[in-house]
């Protein structure tokens, strides 16, 4: 069973007067996140990531298409028992203390009163908020609010965590701790759907990522699938002059260093052509390697920006 399933999910924000579509925030999103998977959701600002999350939570309604969580329609609030959510900008009720707020949410989530205090203590300790537990939320810093927001998402030990830019306000130490918690949750088989701009974070925790741009899904796959490029690098030694001349005339990128010739083929057709040329001259490459890309380069390439060198 898929933890998250969307089919042709579309959202257009319509002007109140006139009824003309103003923005197509999401265009026919088809997505499936399996149970136990850690799924990264990437995209530049305005790509439709938060819109997708709001649709998954049933806070806004799709213009067309469907979304399901654990095979239940997203509008059914009962499925929220299995869901923990951390919004992008954590706006919490500031008239509570940190502990009081967690008690309120724990009661809403139906955390048994016998175990409630122990669970709250555990989370306050895990997120380094014990000292601030009795302080009013209005006095919390941004980072503390983010950690308190994360604590409320974990209160009922949910099966699915939906995290929208979870580390935006955290310092490097906080980010490291956050990553460790995610890895622990992943180890325990929880499904994590995480939208983030911090690609290095996703790289270290995600099984699969999806790249969204202007409401359209550009790419989706495992990091290995996405990072495996189509370009190959061949290393040749003792290359005769005629072959070298033929190679330099080919569209492949050829470099020479200390008698070693490196040929970079950007696609399979080019690779086939070079292989044929080498065969004709009885040559074998000494080494060949498929080039991999960083998540950042995959992301930049997907949204049409030049990759970083």
């Amino acid at each position: 069973m898929a933890a998250i399933y969307t089919e042709n999910l579309t959202k257009s924000f319509v002007r109140f007067f006139g009824g003309q579509p103003e923005t197509n925030a999401l265009k026919g999103l088809n997505l499936e996140v399996k149970e136990g998977e850690t799924f990264g959701f990437l995209g530049p600002n305005g790509a439709g990531k938060t819109t997708t999350i709001l649709l998954l939570l049933g806070l806004i309604r799709p213009s067309s298409g469907t979304a399901r969580l654990f095979d239940q329609p997203v509008g059914d609030c009962r499925v929220h028992r299995r869901l923990g959510y951390l919004p992008e900008s954590v706006n919490l009720h500031d008239y509570y203390t940190g502990r009081g707020l967690l008690e309120f949410y724990a009661a809403l989530l139906g955390v048994p009163s016998q175990t409630r205090q122990a669970r709250i203590d555990e989370l306050l300790c895990l997120l380094r908020l014990e000292a601030a537990a009795a302080k009013s939320v209005s006095k919390y810093s941004k980072g503390m609010l983010q950690r308190l927001g994360f604590a409320q998402a974990l209160l009922h030990d949910p099966d699915l965590l939906i995290l929208d830019e979870p580390t935006a306000s955290l310092d490097p130490v906080g980010r490291k701790e956050f990553r460790d918690i995610l890895l622990e949750l992943k180890r325990r088989g929880k499904t994590i759907f995480i939208s983030s701009h911090i690609l290095s974070e996703l790289e270290s925790v995600c099984d699969r990522v999806a790249i969204l741009e202007q409401g359209e899904l550009k790419r989706v796959g495992s990091l290995q699938e996405l990072s495996t490029g189509k370009s190959t690098r061949l290393v040749l030694r003792q290359v005769p002059g005629a072959v070298l001349e033929a190679l330099s005339r080919s569209p492949a990128e050829v470099t020479m260093l200390n008698g070693q010739v490196t040929v970079k083929c950007v696609d399979l057709a080019m690779r086939d052509m070079i292989d044929e040329l080498l065969r004709q001259h009885g040559l074998q490459p000494e080494a060949s390697a498929v080039e991999t890309q960083s998540l950042e380069n995959i992301f930049l390439a997907s949204i049409g920006k030049p990759p970083k060198l």
Partner: protein, 271 residues
């Protein structure tokens, strides 16, 4: 049901931390007491002057008065007492209406504006439970306001030696019903428009614009029957049956408004 009470409790907590609301409630109660004290003092001065004249002339005025004059004087004194109560009622009712409009129109809209609703609705809380919880929280605060206003008038009448008009025993309840009606309409309108505009429309819409002969009276709210200011001044008696009917009218109206509010809120986008 537990979730509704949890939301209601949270709503009360939020309202008690709202400085503007607390200030509004306090000002309303203080102004009510202040104006009533002035009215009471004026009435006391008249009584004292009358007593002083009586002593100076050393000829009891009452002895010179005919039975009709005495009756008229008694009526005038009673009317004075009714005026005091009437103004007390009018001031506390008006203040309460402002408080109700503020509480109910911001109950949901302020949570949407601040974004706090996202976390609450991401919990296993249905929109109906949320809406009812918010309304119930407002009801609890308005009930507290009605109790404080009632206690204030009891204390005031005891300290000023003013005998309460018979209708005054129902006045706080009718005032409470009126405020809940006003609040339910304000809450509904706040889901369609800016809460301030909703408040103005809610306040104006049912303020005696319609008479019972107008068919709109049965469709649109009318707070007029709940305003007993004139009856207090006239010393009219309100029957228990009338109070029951008015209460049913109020509850009927509130249920209709809440159903409409739910119809709107269940599809409202909270982003």
């Amino acid at each position: 049901m537990k979730l509704i009470f949890l939301i209601a409790g949270d709503s009360v907590r939020a309202l008690l931390h709202h400085r503007l609301l607390i200030a509004l409630m306090l000002v309303s109660l203080v102004m009510t007491i202040f104006f009533s004290m002035i009215m009471g003092r004026t009435r006391a001065n008249i009584s004292n002057q009358f007593a002083a004249t009586e002593m100076e002339t050393n000829s009891p005025v009452f002895q010179k008065m005919s039975a009709d004059d005495r009756k008229k004087l008694d009526e005038a004194m009673e009317q004075g007492a009714s005026m005091v109560q009437g103004f007390f009622y009018a001031a506390s009712s008006f203040g309460g209406s402002l408080v109700a409009l503020f509480i109910f129109s911001t109950a949901v809209s302020s949570e949407i504006r601040r974004g706090t609703i996202r976390l609450t609705l991401s919990k296993p809380v249905s929109r109906l439970q949320y809406l009812l919880g918010k309304y119930l929280g407002g009801v609890a605060v308005m009930a507290a306001y009605a109790v404080i206003a009632s206690l204030a008038i009891l204390l005031f009448s005891a300290s000023s030696h003013v005998e309460l008009s018979p209708i005054m025993k129902y006045a706080p309840w009718l005032m409470f019903c009126r405020q809940l009606m006003l609040g339910s309409l304000a809450m509904l309108l706040s889901l369609f428009m800016h809460p301030t505009i909703g408040c103005v429309i809610a306040f104006v819409a049912g303020n005696g614009l319609y008479s019972t002969s107008n068919p709109l009276y049965y469709l649109l709210p009318s707070y007029a029957p709940f305003n007993v200011f004139t009856q207090i001044l006239q010393g009219s008696v309100l029957k228990g049956n009338d109070v029951v009917l008015l209460t049913l009218y109020a509850f009927d109206f509130i249920i209709c408004m809440l159903l409409l509010a739910w119809w709107r809120f269940r599809t409202k986008e909270v982003c």
